[in-house]
């Protein structure tokens, strides 16, 4: 017996290919509709007959092009959003790591007698990668600050006579007595190194970071 693979006739009105027809006329007798999403539209919206020849030769589906570029830009923005979130958690990880290290130990910097009034000394605290400045402004006053500018980490230079600390990179100025910014791009004060005088020695006991 021959294998008959033909489909049985479906006489229902709503069968495939006959949707919307009210009679028994097959759908193939009608002109198929053109998919409007496949029609090329020029940027000015006019028909292709009114476009210059070069645009007819190199037609671009502008609505589709606009859609795709916005979609890809949105993907890029979501990737940027991911990067910002990773940055936030990186800060949190840095904070956790810093807490884990604990407070820095006290370190002897110099003898009081070795720092004359108006003189400055450089030292590293709390690690060898943290350069700092020690300034003796009068008989009993010592101040110490981080030497890294709070703008872009350039090394700052003290000017004891003027009472300022200057950043040569972008002309940032800090107050020598407090370390607070007084001019230029820096917005945060210099980190202050806490000092103590113990037995005629100047001792660094900690670092105070400030936002204002």
């Amino acid at each position: 017996m021959a294998d008959d693979r033909r489909q049985p006739l479906d006489v229902r009105i709503d069968s495939e290919g006959r949707e919307g027809l009210t009679g028994t006329t097959p759908a193939s007798v009608y002109q198929p509709l053109q998919d409007v999403e496949q029609v090329t539209v020029a940027p000015d919206g006019r028909s292709m007959e009114l476009q210059p020849a070069w645009r007819t030769d190199f037609p671009i589906d502008w609505p589709q092009d606009h859609y795709v570029e916005r979609r890809d830009f949105m993907k890029f923005m979501v990737l940027t959003s991911l990067a910002f979130t990773v940055g936030q958690f990186w800060i949190a990880a840095q904070n956790w790591w810093r807490r884990r290290r604990g407070e820095p130990e006290a370190v002897r910097l110099a003898l009081v007698a070795d720092v004359p009034i108006g003189a400055t000394r450089t030292f590293s605290y709390p690690t060898e990668y943290d350069p700092c400045l020690l300034v003796r402004s009068d008989e009993r006053t010592f101040v110490a600050f981080s030497q890294e500018c709070t703008h872009l980490s350039c090394a700052v230079i003290p000017d004891v006579a003027e009472g300022i600390i200057r950043c040569p990179c972008h002309e940032g100025l800090f107050d020598l007595a407090t370390g607070r910014p007084i001019a230029g791009p820096p917005r945060r004060p210099l980190s202050r190194v806490c000092l103590a005088i113990r037995g005629g020695e100047i001792v660094a006991t900690g670092v105070e970071e400030r936002t204002a």
Partner: protein, 78 residues
């Protein structure tokens, strides 16, 4: 009776424009959060770090949800 038809290209373009505006606002908010948190962290203020990280993660989830919806309407287009 509601008809669950796929979006046309013009409708999808409108949707992606709206989503893009929302995503851009969230990304700008995240940028502000990141710079403010970095400034606070470098200044020794640790209290804002975790709330800011949580807020940034929420923004990322919103953005990722919108992107997922965009992929969804891409899949169901005619």
């Amino acid at each position: 009776m509601s008809v669950n038809r796929p979006f046309t290209r013009a409708q999808r373009a409108t949707i992606v424009n709206g989503m893009l505006a929302f995503v851009l606002m969230l990304v700008v908010l995240q940028l502000w959060l990141l710079t403010a948190t970095m400034n606070a962290y470098l200044g020794g203020d640790r209290s804002v770090i975790w709330p800011a990280a949580f807020a940034s993660a929420v923004c990322l989830l919103l953005n990722a949800g919108l992107l997922r919806y965009l992929y969804h309407i891409e899949r169901t287009r005619r």
